[in-house]
Symmetry: C2
């Protein structure tokens, strides 16, 4: 068992995701080799790329406001407390529309954190 304070987890830049930082809160370093829980912080005005991959996302917005673009190009508003499920191979991007950090936890199977 491991109890974790997110303040102790370093931020990592995310390659190809400008204005986006990641903390791996629960992952292999904590003994979790099946599921990984990351926390993403998106700067005001920044977005994750409109992209797809062969693993799902289980998301909970922690703070800030923005939107997620779905596979049809439709933008759906996000704010703290909203949950989102993104299917495997479903195109998506997340944009921060507020003046503070947009932060959200994003849970993936291990293949999503160590892409093959």
């Amino acid at each position: 068992m491991k109890v974790i304070n997110i303040e102790d987890i370093p931020f990592e830049e995310v390659k190809g995701f400008e204005g986006v930082r990641k903390q791996v809160v629960i992952g292999p370093s904590e003994g979790s080799n099946e599921i990984v829980l990351r926390c993403f912080s998106i700067d005001p005005g920044a977005s994750s790329p409109y992209h797809t991959h062969d693993f799902p996302h289980l998301i909970k917005v922690e703070s800030g406001e923005g939107f997620i673009k779905d596979a049809d190009g439709k933008n759906i508003n996000l704010r703290a407390g909203k949950y989102v499920y993104v299917n495997d191979n479903e195109k998506h991007s997340i944009t921060n529309t507020c003046s503070d950090i947009l932060s959200f936890i994003c849970i993936v199977p291990i293949r999503g954190e160590n892409p093959r």
Copy 2:
């Protein structure tokens, strides 16, 4: 893609867990067949049983205060914002020590939500 408001998710009693209710926030009904995100609410003074199972827990405390008992019987304090990783087959229970609901999200592989 599915955007979910937790207020729309019904509470379920948890068999054998008195004073504990569960919401399945992201699971098979949302299209997630690999990982399930549940939210648990524990009443003041109540606990989950001291138990074990063959799947891990990735936990984030959402509100309230309490403790988690580890496999050695040691109690580790929990409060909003703490994350916990519980290994497969590691004995644990969670107790609410405050006067409000203790709520936490608890992520499991699908076999943890539909035990075999």
